[in-house]
């Protein structure tokens, strides 16, 4: 009997060690204590956003949150948005983010950056998926186990609704990259199905899905453009490929990229944000949004954002506004 008691005690302590910290890890707690800076943190950050406060949701991998600055969209167009991309996100990760967001938001537009359509997303077996789902639901520590990284991730700097200010410049010097290698680009069936699911979630919530490709010589070429254009046409979704508008945007690959053409930096993001903001402003009506309650908090954050960015990108980006 004593032996059983000992074993039960061991397991009980173990269950407590795993269960109790998870119970404390509410979205509010995590955001308040700066524990939501990791990949999964985007879920907690979205959950603390006031209900129905977002006009636009941006999802995808790192290409998404390095191309759209929500604070700039707010300042110049009065559009509230959240850059809910995750580093190295698979398309199914973006679907999960969308589901989390839709618990509290009904954005008018979901902007899905297309880079993760080409990322391998292995299908989990039913049992693995079910078990993981069960464990993550009941033992939140397992799902959020990477929180210990959060303080380290703050090195990246403060998040402005998912956007991080990066002034790093590492030029891309490879020249024109939107050329065809006459290669057939494949998007896996799993990703195509996930894309359909994303479209269905948007449709159900009265949200319009827009696909867009961030300017990135490292990740895009003309063959990918053709494939994405075909997919979006087939699905009846608008597709904006910013790689075909590099000149129009005024992207200068000597200064607008932080890592040799993989991602844009603050200066590049200013240009793409302005293009997308102008596009959204021209094609959609965001005047009926109910964000009066949050104007103060948005403006407060905007002040901090402007203090950290200066007004350089504002000068650059105002120039292309009148194109629409």
């Amino acid at each position: 009997m004593r032996k059983y008691g000992k074993n039960i005690l061991f397991l009980a302590i173990l269950a407590l060690l795993i269960y109790v910290p998870g119970k404390c890890m509410t979205s509010k707690f995590m955001v308040k204590n700066h524990l939501a800076n990791c990949k999964n943190g985007v879920h907690a950050n979205l959950m603390v956003e006031p209900k129905n406060s977002l006009d636009v949701l941006i999802i995808g991998d790192s290409e998404s949150y390095t191309t759209v600055s929500p604070m700039q969209l707010w300042r110049d167009y009065g559009i509230t948005s959240y850059a809910a991309g995750q580093p190295g996100a698979k398309l199914s990760d973006s679907e999960k983010v969308l589901k989390t967001a839709m618990n509290k938001q009904t954005p008018k537009i979901v902007l899905l950056e297309t880079n993760n359509l080409f990322r391998i997303d292995r299908k989990e077996t039913m049992s693995k998926d079910y078990i993981s789902g069960f464990l993550y639901k009941h033992f939140k520590l397992l799902k959020e186990h990477n929180v210990w990284k959060s303080p380290l991730m703050e090195v990246r700097g403060k998040s402005y609704k998912g956007f991080h200010v990066s002034r790093k410049i590492k030029p891309y010097t490879g020249g024109d990259y939107m050329i065809s290698a006459n290669q057939k680009v494949k998007i896996s069936n799993r990703n195509l199905n996930t894309l359909k699911n994303i479209k269905n979630i948007c449709d159900k919530n009265g949200t319009q899905l827009i696909l867009y490709s961030a300017p990135s010589p490292k990740n895009y070429n003309y063959d990918k453009h053709v494939r994405l254009a075909k997919v979006s046409k087939k699905m009846g979704v608008t597709y904006i490929d910013l790689n075909t508008k590099v000149r129009e945007l005024g992207i200068d690959w000597y200064v607008d990229t932080r890592d040799k053409g993989d991602h844009l930096n603050l200066f590049g993001a200013g240009k793409t944000t302005d293009y997308l903001g102008t596009y959204l402003d021209y094609h959609f009506d965001f005047s009926d949004n109910d964000i009066d309650m949050n104007v103060k908090s948005w403006n407060k954050l905007l002040k901090k954002y402007e203090a950290s960015t200066g007004d350089k990108e504002r000068q650059w980006t105002l120039e292309i506004k009148n194109q629409f």
Binding site: K6, I13, L14, N40, I131, S132, W148, M153
Partner: protein
Amino acid sequence: MAYNTNTYFIVFLPLAMILYQMTPKKKRYYTLLLVSVAFFMLISKYLIYWAAITTAVTFLGGLLIERTLKNKELERKQAKKKASRYVKIAIFIVVGILAGLKYTNFTIEIINKFSSSFGTGSNIALLKILVPIGISFYSMQGIGYLLDVFWKHIEAEKNFCKFALFMIFFPTLMEGPICRYSDVKDQLFEGERITEESMVKGAIRIGIGLFKRMLIADRLNGAINVLYKPSESYTGLMVMVIMIFTTVQLYMEFSGTIDIVIGSARIFHVKLPENFRQPFLAESAAEFWRRWHISLGTWFKNYIFYPVTTSKMMKKWNKFGRKHAGKYVTMVVTSAIALFPVWMLNGLWHGPKIPYIMYGVYYFVVLLLEIMLEPVGEKFWNLLQIDAKDKVVSRIRMFRTWIVIFVGEVLFRAETMQQFVSIMKNLFAGPWDGGFFSGKILELGLDVGDYFVIIVATAIVFCIDLKLEKNPNLYEDMVKYPIVYRWAIYYSVIMAIVIFGAYGEGYQPADLIYAGF
């Protein structure tokens, strides 16, 4: 369903334990067989028939060999000759299946390459061949069993179900260790009840295995995938990082999985042979191979190296050589003749890839050089008036062995020989840094936190290895520690896996590398 998945730990293993415990003692091996068949079929589905054929051939072969050897109507020589024929036929079938499934397309590719380079233009289409899981492992066990019966080291098994269990026992199916029938038969068929002690001892090994895999191997996986991208341009520093990362990941992945395997079997009171014995403490490549993938090395030693060195021809050569060429030359030539098939087969065993074959050739050359240069080394230390057994010499040898291992593992991991050459060339020819530490190191999919965990966890594993060197029973002895100390270790390992393990969103666990062989 690999050993490192939650399906295995949360569903499969507990279910296997419950079924095993519910079965009467004498019938427990049936349950283990049933569970092993289920495990096989969950991974390779209907391809189990290949395993069934190999098992049946080996089983019948063993019976025939034994019956022939015991046949009193035949003369000893005649019986041996007849039995030897059965051995050859059975091994031919087992190797035939293995080679047919694993190497047909490889052979076709080579033929096509040759024919295109000679301009004959014939192009044979590749076949769609599905290879069942663990074929290399159970085939080796089967061949070893046939030879052991032939050499009268063991008696042939008369019960087909028991023999089938030996061939496809589920913990050993994917990554070994390659077991000898005599080492595991008693425990496998004994059907001892699962006890608290067997569970705890098994769980400790599983915990250590998960620690190695999830904290280190899985965390390094993303970086390894980036580093081996064909388009990657390598700087000298990057090549060094590749060498270290590849070796560390391979060791943590393989030895971690073997820990899980040994732990799983331990729960059922089956003590599997160890496959690793602190390989990075080896002072020579030969010693490394006595510490790394021990069961494979032992298999080659028992079934290839010894038979070759003790063959009539070699005995004749030894006599002749000593008389005419001297002791040293005879020893080198004998070693070369015995080592060559061992290392060619070792390379081929790993799979139908040129780098694997070259991996075998690489170690053949290194080991032969070690044998050839041993007297020179001794003279060198004598000249410096340093004792060859001195600690400093030992560390230098260890470091030298590490370099051999690092280069070998890059060759092992490379997709093509061109990739290997391009990596190694840049160690000397390319730019040295190329901004690696000033940014590129953080573009491999690992952040500062990841590096921190990898370094600390690797240091912990290294310390455990040092302890194991002094006390090989460290894991088994852990249950004797005072309860507070013991529980503190258990909780620390579990919580380290839970918090610092690389799992969930953003992580792709490392494949069971050896499961592909």
